[in-house]
Subunit: 201 residues, 2 copies
DNA sequence: CCAGAATGTGAACGTGTGTTCTCAATGCGT
DNA sequence: ACGCATTGAGAACACACGTTCACATTCTGG
């Protein structure tokens, strides 16, 4: 009842996520944010309590809209390894294309807020776990279809891919040239596909 | 001439680096910093101009005292691969031991200040380049001594190790349990040492 | 031993921050 | 049609931040 809202909460969350993503937490002032969102402070605080609470909800929005897509994307059918390659390469090209590379909001949050901000830490942990699990599911499918050796330790390899991806998000923001990094990605994935045999000296 | 300083500039820089390292840039207030350094605002600003300038000098101090040690450490004689392993594992254990894992100041700076802060970006880029070059020199020595195959693409593998290390610094701050990460490191290094042969299906 | 330049000291300043308050406008339930 | 809870609007608040100032202190060069 009474007067209805002039905005959709999910839309505001999406835009807030975008803003925090490119500007970080501290460097995002509430006045700049209200301007960007087209909301007045009153509406913002009534709906989201706090700057910090809004930030956490934006992080959760990232987790639910961005990270949750990974596993379904990898398992959509057809070869998995090329899909993993595409995902990694896309990050590089996005950073090279954007005039302002913003990396990954989870990685940025780790650098800026952890370990001080425990609530943000928990959400980031969930994001990392989702990424790792997505890679694990993808590698399991790849093992079943013979893309990689059947005896591959998929759990460990998933951890490697996840860690490598986080490292990529760091490196990409500091150094934009994607060529060296592309070669690295191809080397890692090629190795993954190749059966390994011990050779006696 | 005139009154001499009551502090040593390098010592202040070291302490400032430590404080920025654990607290980040924005969350470090000048009043907290002066308290921690035992300096009054006047002395600080006369010597270091600015909060931002002091931060940049602290970053350079990190580059010169921490990162520059990598190559000499790896080339100190004896097998290189175990030394690389020790370096990576030490990061994990340090994060697990510390009540407050602070990761790496370069990675934290990427998350908090880049790409906005171009001056910091340049220093971080130098740090990453030093790390990568240290690994490359180490791998070249390892190839010469037969620790890894002689035809290894050491430049690409150095990029992989550098990126993996940055990823590690991110993951370690979000999730402290080092065991999974230890397994991953061992898997990566073991692979590096093993000759790879293509096997016809 | 004295002149003078740089230092230690800590109070003070202006600015921008996150947040709250007041008030008119709005539209649903009855 | 009307009451009233909730909204949009934006001025205002308290506070903390980075920075500067004025002044007494201290030591060196001549």
């Amino acid at each position: 009842m009474s007067r209805p809202r002039g905005f959709v909460e999910a839309d505001v969350l999406e835009r807030a996520m975008q803003y925090f993503w490119t500007n970080g937490y501290e460097a995002t002032s509430m006045s700049a944010l209200t301007g960007y969102l087209g909301l007045h402070p009153g509406s913002l605080y009534r709906t989201f309590t706090d700057k910090h609470t809004l930030f956490l909800r934006a992080l959760e929005h990232y987790r639910d809209t961005q990270t949750r897509q990974l596993a379904p994307t990898l398992l959509a059918g057809g070869p998995v390894l090329p899909r993993i390659r595409t995902i990694l390469i896309d990050y590089l090209e996005a950073a090279a294309d954007e005039s302002v590379p913003r990396g990954c909001i989870a990685v940025n949050t780790v650098g800026e807020r952890l370990p001080r901000d425990e609530a943000a830490g928990r959400i980031v942990q969930e994001i990392l776990a989702l990424v790792e699990d997505g890679f694990r599911q993808g590698l399991e499918a790849a093992a079943r279809h013979g893309e990689i050796p059947a005896d591959t330790d998929v759990a460990t390899e998933a951890t490697t891919l996840m860690t490598l991806l986080q490292g990529l998000q760091v490196v990409v923001k500091a150094e934009r040239d994607p060529r060296r990094l592309t070669r690295m990605i191809d080397a890692v994935l090629t190795r993954l596909a190749e059966p390994v045999r011990h050779v006696d000296a």
